[in-house]
């Protein structure tokens, strides 16, 4: 059961081979056993989960089940879920029981899915190791001395350790793809605007995008069918026709090589200095496998991608400093116990409620937006953002998808990059440009590096090309078994 695909789980539930209550209890028992060692979940509420499972069983009995009805999913703790503690990994929201559902949550609820619990994450999604969470760091299930990546580290660890069938994440600069790579699972960040941001606690609104994290591309496609879609409550939600993300998943060129005709672009900048040898080797083997599957390879260049980290660390903190100004201790969340006047209450509540990394980013953002610096930083960064996006437009004239490493290294040790924010920021060097351009990107497991830690292959598609990317990933997963490997002892 634990290694079944979502499609198989759905079929087993509809055939009444297992009930949703039994399946939910199975996962709750596993969580009780393994979560203390991994810290993948911040909040569990077995009563609410089982109530949803009973409703799902009733719906199945009534013959009204959909593809995901009765399947237990974990939700990143950035999504507001009615009646659930929703902390966003911060002390600031330690007591915030959400009065409403995020769009993503209501989509899963409408599908009859079960919410197993809320997963741990870097505070306000700011981090690449899950070490900035107020609720303690998450351990990588492949080696508990190492980080799971971030910011969706709890989700990645929970999926890898089979503590849920699949789960949600969000990606502002790599927060779905990098932890997916470091934990050996599959993750997809859709085109910006495809999944509604309503009720998803904002970090950098022009970059934030929710997406699925699971054990296979097939599972990601089924989750996309539930998560994606227009929502008028998000002003940047795109008005597009509903699509079936699984429509191309089994597409295969007849006569042997399923991906004949596919042109894969390899950006030279993604294979240059800074990439660890073990990661390069695994990614190169994956490319060789793609050639066997019929794809051809084109050398491309993304000359401005080297600027994506500096540009991101102007734009994302600027947007964050504005978004996080709402946390003032007045209407919800943390308020300092002692203060002298209103300004003192704001300053102390924010100083005590936010952790070090969040404060750092608020300060960067406040500085670059302050009087006299706007043109030199914010405006310049927005102009370079266009250059970065144009690089991709040029590249897609020569290729259909772009591939490379997701992260320059495999999972590093807990505490290894703790004192140096710049070193941590550089671990997102291959993922950030995708967010700046608003393109879809995914990571799938493609082998193991030094210390037997998983390596992720990044697949970047053109706008709205998710269905094709899922097919490209699925064909690889039919030919290889990296995605079905599981950490030992779990």
């Amino acid at each position: 059961m634990l290694n079944s695909s979502l499609q198989q789980l759905g079929a087993a539930l509809r055939a009444k081979n297992i009930s949703s209550v039994e399946l939910t209890q199975l996962y709750l028992d596993r969580i009780a056993q393994h979560n203390p060692g991994l810290n993948a979940y911040i909040t569990l509420n077995p009563e609410m989960s089982l109530a949803q499972a009973r409703e799902a069983d009733a719906r199945i009995a009534a013959g009204k089940a959909g593809a995901l009805t009765g399947i237990p999913f974990a939700q990143k703790d950035i999504f507001c879920a009615k009646g659930w503690l929703t902390t966003c990994g911060s002390k600031m929201l330690h007591n915030f029981v959400s009065p409403y559902d995020a769009h993503v949550i209501s989509q899963f609820n409408d599908a009859g899915a079960v919410n197993l619990g809320k997963t741990n994450m870097d505070e306000f999604a700011m981090g690449s190791s899950n070490e900035t969470s107020y609720y303690g760091t998450v351990k990588n299930p492949w080696d508990t001395a190492r980080v799971p990546g971030g910011s969706s580290g709890g989700t990645a660890a929970a999926v890898a350790a089979r503590l849920c069938a699949a789960a949600t994440g969000t990606d502002t600069g790599g927060s779905i793809r990098q932890p997916a790579a470091l934990c050996g699972i599959s993750g997809l960040k859709p085109t910006y605007g495809v999944v509604s941001r309503y009720g998803m606690i904002a970090f950098a609104s022009s970059l934030d995008q929710a997406g699925p994290m699971a054990r296979s591309a097939e599972d990601l496609a089924l989750m996309m069918n539930v998560m994606a879609g227009f929502d008028e409550r998000d002003s940047t939600s795109l008005q597009r026709d509903k699509e079936d993300y699984a429509r191309e998943i089994n597409k295969s060129v007849s006569g042997g090589k399923p991906l004949t005709g596919l042109r894969i672009g390899l950006p030279k900048e993604f294979f240059a200095e800074g990439l660890d040898g073990d990661v390069a080797k695994a990614v190169e083997s994956a490319i060789a496998e793609y050639r066997k599957l019929g794809a051809s390879v084109v050398d491309i260049s993304l000359p401005n991608s080297r600027l994506s980290v500096p540009v991101y660390y102007v734009l994302a903190p600027a947007e964050a400093s504005s978004n996080l100004s709402r946390f003032d201790g007045v209407r919800y969340g943390y308020r300092a116990p002692e203060y002298s006047d209103l300004a003192d209450m704001y300053e102390k509540s924010r100083a005590q409620g936010f952790g070090a990394e969040v404060k750092r980013r608020i300060m960067i953002g406040t500085y670059v937006l302050s009087h006299g610096y706007y043109d030199a930083y914010y405006l310049q960064a927005q102009k370079i953002r266009r250059l970065i996006a144009q690089d991709f437009t040029e590249a897609y004239k020569q290729c259909d998808v772009i591939m490379g490493p997701t992260s320059p290294s495999t999972a590093f040790k807990l505490g290894e990059k703790g004192d140096d924010p710049v070193q941590m920021y550089l671990s997102d060097i291959y993922t950030i440009a995708v967010n700046l351009a608003g393109l879809p990107g995914m990571s799938i497991p493609c082998g193991f590096g030094a210390n037997n830690m998983p390596v992720g292959l990044q697949i970047i598609g053109n706008y709205f090309d998710e269905a094709r990317m899922l097919n490209v990933a699925h064909q690889y997963q039919l030919a290889t078994d990296w995605h079905s490997r599981a950490p030992q002892g779990l």
Binding site: S235, L342, Y346, R360, T366, Y367
Partner: protein
């Protein structure tokens, strides 16, 4: 780029973050390192390039100016730090 203590104090005040001297000093050193990283951007020639504020070039949707949200005052105030008679309480600002 090296930030001064006064720069950091000013930013902390604008951001409404209480910080003591030790924290200001730590922030000064770390922020200076981050601005060194960001400085790489300054050498790029961006004359004639239009700033890109969003991933998709779409116009803001407009809607009719009518009430769409239901009143949920009680649910919202149930999670507030301090309320009284339906009002959010904060320290007195007007004598």
């Amino acid at each position: 780029m090296s930030l001064t203590t006064a720069d950091v104090q000013k930013v902390a005040r604008l951001a409404r973050l209480a910080m003591n001297e030790t924290e200001i000093e730590a922030a000064r050193s770390q922020l200076s390192g981050i601005f060194d990283l960001i400085a790489e951007m300054q050498a790029v020639d961006t004359r004639g390039i239009a700033p890109m504020s969003h991933a998709q070039d779409v116009a803001q949707r407009l809607r009719e100016d009518k009430v769409t949200e239901a009143n949920q005052r009680e649910a919202f105030q149930a999670i507030a730090p301090q309320v009284e008679a339906g009002l959010y309480l904060v320290p007195q600002v007007i004598e």
